[in-house]
Amino acid sequence: MDINTYKAQKAKYYKVLVGLLLLTTLTFVQPHLFLENATFAIQLMIGAVKAWLIVMYYMHLKGETLIGWTVAFAIALVVIFFATVITDVNHFQFKDSSYITEQHASAGEHVQHHEE
């Protein structure tokens, strides 16, 4: 690597750092300044932009065709997996017997209801 390439790459690293620091600052102030009711969605969107910067520039994916498509394919699989599970759990049928909902309270109510 010649000295000019080194300097150009180093400058790019610092530019990305500034971008990431600005986005991190935005992460800190957003819940107190704007769109307070959509904090979760906004925070994830900021996270996605930060992730894009990290993957493209710090992980050198920019310009990588084969690895880029491999990663895109894997992320697409994760998204399909997410969408399938979310669709399924929207029609969750086992709330009374599951360990992720308040089964004791609802099961108790259920029993009481029958006793009545």
Binding site: T39, M59, V85
Partner: protein, 233 residues
């Protein structure tokens, strides 16, 4: 300095055919791209593992929205935020180290790896302070507050939130420890002349690993610290 002094001398494997002719077997020792692709495939398995955890967390959040906001507001954004910046700077030092290695500045590369290791230890120390504070407040895996069915129990949603918090930040912390171990190994390989400006795939892949650890934190931090940040406790 010759390649032999670096310990990179390549001794080809020779195969003998039935007719007695000798052929050199193709070697892949210098396959930088193959090494990179293989490591990306490993990292995608990590994405699947943490992805499943984030999916679980999102689903629990949809079931227990208010409890998650309430529990999140108890965390110190200052400590979590400091760790975010520490990891951010460590990603820079790791990247600059790789850049220096590729440019032939091996000493500078080693200094940057040392800097990254110090930042990693700082991250773990801050995380340790946080967990200790949580423990003294009665919030830790196994303590009564996080066990259902007793007078000190937190709400059901809060128990799920804190359970996921300790699981995910614990697994992430474990990755940080592994990262420090990898950096120690990398320094030993550099000192032994096995990782050089010409042969730096190990350095490249460990830098990728460190970026992945940073990337996971980019989502862990808002999920646990920020969703309740505007609600004050």
């Amino acid at each position: 300095m010759s390649h032999e002094e670096h310990g990179h001398e390549y001794v080809p494997e020779i195969a003998t055919a039935r007719d007695g002719k000798k052929y050199e077997v193709q070697g892949w020792q210098g396959d930088f791209y193959g090494g990179k692709l293989g490591f990306w495939l490993f990292m995608l398995t990590e994405v699947m593992m943490f992805g499943a955890m984030f999916l679980t967390l999102t689903y629990y959040f949809s079931l227990h929205h208010d409890a998650f906001i309430e529990a999140s507001s108890e965390f110190s954004v200052l400590l979590g935020g400091t760790n975010t910046v520490v990891l951010l700077i460590s990603a820079l030092t790791m990247g600059l180290g790789l850049l220096k290695m590729r440019a032939g500045d091996v000493k500078g590369a080693k200094l940057m790896i040392y800097a990254t290791m110090i930042l990693a230890v700082v991250f773990l120390a801050i995380k340790g302070v946080e967990w200790t504070e949580d423990y003294h407040e009665g919030i830790f895996l196994g303590l009564p507050a996080l066990q259902a069915g007793n007078p000190d129990s937190r709400s059901f949603g809060e128990i799920l939130f804190f359970g996921m918090y300790f699981t995910m930040t614990g697994l992430h912390g474990f990755h940080i420890i592994i990262g420090i171990g990898l950096m120690i190994w990398l320094l030993k390989r550099i000192n032994a002349g096995k990782v050089t400006t010409e042969h730096h795939i190990l350095h490249f892949n460990i830098a990728l690993y460190w970026d992945l650890v940073h990337l996971i934190w980019v989502f862990v931090f808002p999920y646990f610290y920020m969703i309740g940040a505007g609600h004050g406790h």
